[in-house]
Amino acid sequence: MHLGAKPDAGNAYSQNREQELWDSFRDIITICNQKKTDLLLIAGDLFHRQPLLRELKEMNSILEMLEHTEVVMIAGNHDYIKKNSYYRTFSWAPHVHMICSQEIDCVELDRIQTAVYGCSYHSREIHDPVYDHAVPERRQKYEILLAHGGDEKHIPIKSNQIITLGYDYVAFGHIHKPQLLVENRMAYAGSLEPTDTGDIGRHGYIEGRITGKGCQIRFVPHALREYRNCEVKVDKFVTGHVLRQKITDMIAEQGMQHMYKITLTGYRDPDIWYELDYMDPYGNVVEITDHTKPAYDFTKLKNENKGNILGQYIESLEGYPADSLEYQALCEGVRALMETRRG
């Protein structure tokens, strides 16, 4: 969830974005009540940093609205349980179970015949592959591993190893992008809302059903907004004004509620360059990068200017990839030479 984060959401939405994250979480409670969900799993990083007491009280009161649902959660690398963390002392509502231990521990929920295994972070990083050998103890009919991490510095995992341990389902947190690790058995739910400009694409939660026949899960998009990467292609005829119109149309078509990271590509008129600050018609462009290249035909220019400095300049810098420093230097230099020549 990364509650407490203040992600950049463009001019229009940044102000309320922090609150929106809470709103989005509250909606989950409503959904749980409507669907009479048995179990809500929160796989770490509920808070972006160390939670304050008031935040925990707030969270507890939200969770108290649950009518049928048990909650099991752990602390992740962002809200790891520090020495003075409130997680250590806070008393949750009776149906909210937090696994605070650093070693794999278990919460048994007799009513739904389920045991949830897991552990919490007590430091920012854990390099030990803790989950690889966390064998379930067959305490209940259904057994679930609630885990956080998966990269090098945060409990590295071998998913094919973990799946052999015999859990009915492994619920992973940490990676913000939702992704399936093993069909119906192991998945990253991803963050409920995108909390960083890097969290491109759809976000939501994973809804699952475990019966005697096994586990079935599906991803449910839920985020109020998403970050979208968009490429806008320009050509020689696209001026700043036309480009703004293009971006306006594109955002209107894709949805104004989203937040956009725009990359400009293609070959622009060499005489034009774009005023990037001007390209945010709705206040929801969080990033705009100009990768357009001037529409110079370097080969032709070189042949026409054989022997003079322009030709030699092109010759000395050509052949580098388009994203290299040398290529950019080539464009800048050619532009300067072309724009200042006389006659």
């Binding site: 990033e287 022997g307 230097a329 230099g333 200042t340």
Partner: protein, 522 residues
């Protein structure tokens, strides 16, 4: 290009004067004041026009000097020349009322436009500055202008160019510099945005730190108070204990708390007195009874005194009223306060740590500034690269220039000087016998020869179209031998030479050496 005919319709002192020029050396001889310089100026004016000065400067400018003596409203001439196998005629009116310039191709009668640069094109992009610094040379201004050094530098970048406009290296470098400035500004803006964010955060941190500090002080105070209270309590307890050890008898144990004297004691005392009276014989019994009574009385009085001590006196109450309120705060409340402060302190500490983390994250460089930084580097690289290339090209040009000029000076000095080197600013030095000779060290005649060589070399480098060489009295300081060598060189290498002179030396030397020439007497 070759000039075929000059027609000074009305120019300076000349009126309808026609001069035919031939290929090779044209010797134009005239006494002083015969109009040599006028013709010289006329050619320049025909090729490049004459700009009128403004205001006071106009009084002595070229235009005024050569304004016709009579009928100044008719101020014009024509010049015929051949270029690229075709013949052209330029016709100009210089006077302010009918000012015009016409360029016609004689073969097909096509009218070309001087304004649009047709003439400039026929002259091989020659401009007046170059003209005066290369092919047109007079004794007065043998040395080349400063501007030529810059032009050569610029020219170096266009070396071997074929058309397609002219590259302006300095302009390009200037533009790159400007671009770099813009980018650096962007980077600074980005940094200051970040700095603002940081300052805001730091302010928040400092507020919280102050709170933390304040709370810590508060906590210390409450804890101290509690400790003091605890100490006092302990003291009291100890006092009581001490009291118990010494003054507390069995009676104190049985006696109810509130009672100073137990009624049983009175009863026992009475019983003892009565018994004493009854048992002992008279009159001792009375005595004993009185003594006992007094003893018991003393005991009771003593007991009552202890009780009295604990009753608050008037000044004691007043004293209590003026003692600080806090001391009266119940210990329970103090304990609660401590718990509360501890909790708040923890909350604030966590907040403080969280903000610290956030501050640390600010140090991460974001995409935007990386992009700007890369662009800045690219611009920098472009500028450096251009400088480097142009340096190399200037090197080639200088080499060629030096080679050409050296070849010329070798011929005209009859092999005395074989090598000539120029620097960036076109300062020249000579090399003889592996020794560098500064131009200041050689004779005036040699200096003029060096300049001639340099001008010819630069002219060859800069001008695509070979222009007629116009020499106005340049041989004054030459000795016969050098002059002969120079004339030989000109005859051999130049298509057309216009030699203005007021002396007979040139003609004599050419006659003696058998160099063909065309003579015009003014």
């Amino acid at each position: 290009m070759q000039i075929n005919e000059l027609l000074l319709k009305n120019f300076g002192k000349f009126h309808d004067r026609q001069i035919n020029l031939e290929e090779g050396i044209n010797l134009i001889h005239g006494e002083n004041e015969s109009g040599k310089s006028t013709i010289h100026t006329f050619i320049k004016g025909m090729l490049f026009g004459i700009e009128r000065g403004r205001g006071r400067a106009a009084q002595n400018d070229t235009f005024s000097i050569y304004e016709p003596w009579d009928n100044p409203n008719y101020y014009s001439g024509t010049l015929k020349f051949a270029s690229g196998g075709k013949h052209f005629r330029i016709e100009r009116n210089f006077d302010k009322y009918s000012k015009k310039a016409e360029l016609v191709c004689i073969e097909d009668g096509e009218v070309l436009s001087v304004e649009d640069g047709d003439l400039r094109m026929l002259l091989g992009e020659m401009n007046v500055d170059r003209y005066e610094n290369t092919v047109s040379m007079s004794q007065r201004n043998a040395q080349m202008g400063e501007s030529m050094a810059m032009e050569l530098k610029n020219y170096a970048t266009n070396y071997y160019t074929s058309g397609n406009g002219e590259i302006d290296l300095n302009g390009a470098l200037e533009q790159l510099k400007g671009r770099k400035k813009v980018l650096e500004n962007e980077i600074r803006m980005e940094m200051s945005r970040k700095q603002q964010k940081r300052e805001k955060l730091e302010q928040e941190v400092s507020f919280i730190w102050r709170d933390v500090h304040h709370l810590e002080e508060e906590l210390d105070r409450v804890e101290e108070e509690l400790e003091y209270r605890a100490g006092k309590e302990e003291e009291k307890r100890k006092e009581r204990q001490l009291e118990g050890e010494h003054g507390k008898g069995v009676m104190d144990e049985i006696r109810p708390e509130k009672w100073r004297i137990h009624p049983m004691e009175i009863l026992i005392f009475a019983l003892v007195i009565v018994t004493a009276v009854l048992i002992l014989s008279r009159p001792w019994n009375y005595l004993v009874a009185i003594v006992l009574f007094l003893a018991f009385g003393l005991y009771v009085w003593n007991r009552m005194k202890v009780g009295k001590k604990q009753v608050k006196t008037e000044p004691e109450i007043i004293l209590e009223e003026i003692t600080q309120e806090e001391e009266k705060v119940p210990i329970e409340k103090l304990r609660w306060e401590k718990a509360h402060i501890t909790e708040e302190l923890k909350e604030k500490t966590i907040q403080y740590d969280n903000l610290g983390e956030q501050l640390a994250e600010l140090d991460e460089i974001n995409e935007q500034s990386r992009e700007y930084e890369m662009k800045r580097q690219a611009v920098q690289m472009a500028a450096e690269h251009l400088e480097q290339l142009s340096g190399a090209m200037r090197g080639y040009l200088k080499r060629d220039l030096n080679e050409k000029a050296s070849a010329i000076i070798r011929e005209i000095t009859g092999g005395k000087y074989t090598k000539l080197v120029t620097d960036e600013k076109l300062h020249v030095s000579l090399v003889t016998d592996e020794k560098l000779v500064e131009i200041e060290q050689v004779s005036r005649g040699t200096v003029e020869q060096i300049y001639l060589a340099l001008r010819m070399a630069v002219g060859e480098l800069l001008c695509e179209e070979e222009m007629p060489v116009i020499l106005d009295d340049v041989f004054a300081y030459y000795d016969e031998e050098r002059m002969l060598q120079t004339l030989k060189w000109l005859k051999a290498h130049k298509k057309q030479v216009l030699l203005f002179t007021c002396q007979k030396r040139e003609e004599q030397v050419m006659k003696e050496a058998g160099i063909a020439y065309h003579k015009i007497e003014l």
